[in-house]
């Protein structure tokens, strides 16, 4: 039974009828369902990744069902004694305004998730588009785009975000923009690198020769073949976005009070670290759990989609 070399991943194909472009991922010849199924089995073998996914889904549920789950109004002052320790009535205690900390943590998940997901998506859309254009067209366009990306890449994300907040003013929307701008460069770089490899493939050449428009080639033929590393980048960056958001809130440059944001809750709690350590420490547990989960999830997605990068 002659099977083409290195084709163990393909379905049984005794005649070798499945023609693959050289260098194209073998997954490209399979149906989407088969590929997704295989990815899921690979992902599910990694206990850390599954734990990360479970916690991430739990946080999403917490954010979506916050009004049902939160025992108190997160903004209502004096629902308990100020700086009260954790008790049956207030599982995570109360802060200096007598607000219920658990309710604020639950609502705080909204800010963290919205910033984490929206900013990374925004950065992905812009960065990938720039990377596609830069890699596909090359020449002066490539040089200009990539030099700007090099410049952006030199900024530490929190410092760029601080600068942007200084210019734009505070608020959730501006935090999203600031974090997104900081993440454009990595997406553009990853995309461009893979586009350079893919655009030399014969099927791209063939499409070009038959007169398919450049934009169609880019989005229909190039993009699907460079998607895996982009998704990996996206998964790895969400935790960074949440860390940046909480850092900005901690510095007092995030969503203005009284919006519950984990970083600001920790900052407010630091003042009372001697008499009421729970005010600063408990919101941090939520933040850390979210970041650990997202890091494990990101690592799992990387190992699943790009086994070469596995450490």
């Amino acid at each position: 039974m002659a099977r083409p070399l290195g084709a163990d991943d393909r379905p049984f194909d005794p005649e070798g009828l499945t023609v693959l472009a050289p260098g194209a991922p073998p997954d490209a010849a399979l149906g989407a369902r088969v590929v997704l199924g295989r990815w899921w089995r690979r992902f599910a073998r990694n206990p850390g990744a599954v734990f990360g996914l479970a916690v991430f889904l739990a946080i999403i549920a917490m954010a979506v069902f916050a009004p049902v789950l939160a025992p108190y109004d997160p903004l209502a002052q004096g629902v308990g004694k100020p700086l009260d320790r954790p008790s049956v009535a207030h599982w995570a205690g109360t802060d200096s305004f007598g607000r219920d900390i658990l309710s604020r943590i639950i609502y705080g998940a909204r800010v963290a998730l919205i910033v984490g997901i929206v900013s990374v998506t925004l950065a992905m859309v812009i960065g990938v588009t720039l990377g596609l254009i830069s890699g596909y067209y090359g020449g002066i366009v490539d040089v200009v785009i990539m030099r700007v990306m090099d410049g952006l890449f030199a900024f530490p994300i929190i410092i760029l975000a601080i600068a942007m907040m200084a210019v734009m003013g505070f608020g959730v929307r501006n935090v999203i923009i600031a974090v997104a701008v900081g993440f454009i460069a990595p997406f553009a770089r990853v995309t461009r690198g893979d586009v350079l490899a893919v655009k030399e493939e014969p099927y791209i050449e063939a499409a070009r020769l038959t007169g398919v428009r450049s934009l169609t080639i880019i989005f229909r033929h190039v993009l699907p073949n460079v998607l895996a590393p982009i998704i990996v980048q996206g998964a790895l960056r969400v935790s960074g976005a949440i860390i940046t958001e909480s850092g900005l809130s901690f510095l007092g440059l995030g969503p203005p009070p009284p919006t519950p944001a984990w970083g600001r809750m920790i900052a407010e709690g630091q003042t009372f670290i001697v008499m009421a350590p729970h005010v600063a420490t408990i919101p941090g547990i939520a933040l850390m759990l979210a970041i650990v989960a997202l890091n494990l999830l990101g690592d799992g997605v990387r190992d699943t989609l790009d086994p070469r990068m596995r450490r």
């Binding site: 030099r147 700007v148 090099d150 410049g151 952006l152 030199a154 900024f155 530490p156 994300i157 929190i158 410092i159 601080i162 600068a163 942007m164 907040m165 200084a166 210019v167 935790s239 860390i243 909480s246 850092g247 901690f250 510095l251 007092g252 440059l253 970083g263 920790i266 900052a267 709690g269 630091q270 670290i273 001697v274 350590p277 600063a280 420490t281 941090g284 933040l287 850390m288 970041i291 650990v292 890091n295 494990l296 450490r311």
Partner: protein, 314 residues
């Protein structure tokens, strides 16, 4: 090597140029008229025009950039709107504590990461391996500012071993300085150690799998000697790269850490400047921070090329 150095210098200059344009453009996007802000409420039209032309706002945007970058290159970052001090002096004063914290954190981080990375690699898939790598992910995922508060709570408030905050330069009073620097450096250093330990482990595992190490093992060299004499030198090269790649992250982490410990560094300076709308200071602080990152990256690349002849020649 000379060609490598020259091409790397060229890249660095290009990046610095782009960075300067980005910062210049950002500061021009601030809503409101900076001339009106500087004049306050009581002024004449004539005074307005004079100040506007003195600051160069009546020229084209390219000329304005050239004037600005010329001053920056001469070391003039302008004056603070607030107290009319030189921005360059304010920023450099604030940069010293921040840089000290970063350097101390790198030292703490490497001191923790090297042994834990070696143990993890030598006893791969053992409880030691899982324990130290789990710890690495744990400390890496703790946000610096929260970790700092926990350390203050445990070691200052509860145990009373370290002061909770404040800054004394270690070179004026070594004992006080290092004592106060300990908790901030542990805060940021453990983050760095989490990153480095994982890299030491994986690069050591890779090196231990190489033929020359296998040959040494076949000659009967003991495991410990194998690691320290034969593998470690090569496994440490990636650590140099990580210091370069992560210098920016460390600087960002230092900005947050020093806020927790009330260290008068770049973080406090720039946040106070933002809240006071003192944009010349914001601009100067960010410029100096990013330039430091770019320069450190250049230095690390050069050191890396020096350590690794394969890069130098290519």
């Amino acid at each position: 090597m000379v060609r490598f150095v020259i091409s790397r210098l060229g890249q660095t200059l290009a990046v610095l140029f782009t960075v300067s344009v980005i910062i210049f453009a950002l500061m021009r996007m601030i809503p409101g008229d900076p001339v009106l802000m500087m004049l306050g409420d009581d002024f004449t039209q004539d005074a307005y025009e004079r100040l506007r032309s003195r600051l160069g706002f009546d020229r084209s945007i390219v000329t304005q950039y050239l004037i600005w970058i010329g001053r920056v290159l001469a070391g003039d970052l302008g004056d603070s709107y607030l107290n009319h001090e030189r921005v360059s002096r304010l920023v450099l004063e604030a940069f010293v504590p921040t840089l000290t914290l970063v350097v101390a954190s790198v030292i703490v981080g490497v001191l923790i990461a090297v042994p834990s990375g070696i143990i993890a690699a030598m006893r791969k898939d053992s409880a030691w391996d899982y324990g130290s790598m789990g710890f690495a992910i744990f400390v890496y995922s703790m946000p610096a500012f929260w970790k700092g508060i926990i350390l203050i709570w445990v070691f200052s408030v509860y145990l009373g071993w370290f002061p909770a905050m404040g800054w004394v330069a270690p070179w004026t009073d070594p004992w006080q300085g290092l004592w106060r620097l300990a908790l901030p450096a542990i805060t940021l250093g453990t983050f760095f150690s989490g990153l480095v330990a994982r890299i030491i482990r994986s690069s050591l595992l890779e090196v231990l799998d190489q033929d020359y190490v296998k040959a040494a093992r076949a000659r009967g060299v003991r495991q410990a000697a194998l690691v320290y004499k034969h593998a470690m030198a090569n496994a440490l090269i990636p650590v140099v790269t990580v210091i370069g790649l992560q210098f920016g992250t460390l600087l960002g982490g230092a900005v947050l850490t020093e806020t927790v410990f009330a260290i008068p560094g770049m973080g406090r300076l720039s946040v106070a400047a933002i809240l006071n709308r003192d944009y010349a200071v914001v601009q100067g602080a960010i410029l100096v921070g990013v330039v430091a990152v770019v320069v450190v990256n250049l230095l690390v690349d050069l050191v890396y090329a020096f350590l690794n002849p394969r890069i130098r020649v290519a």
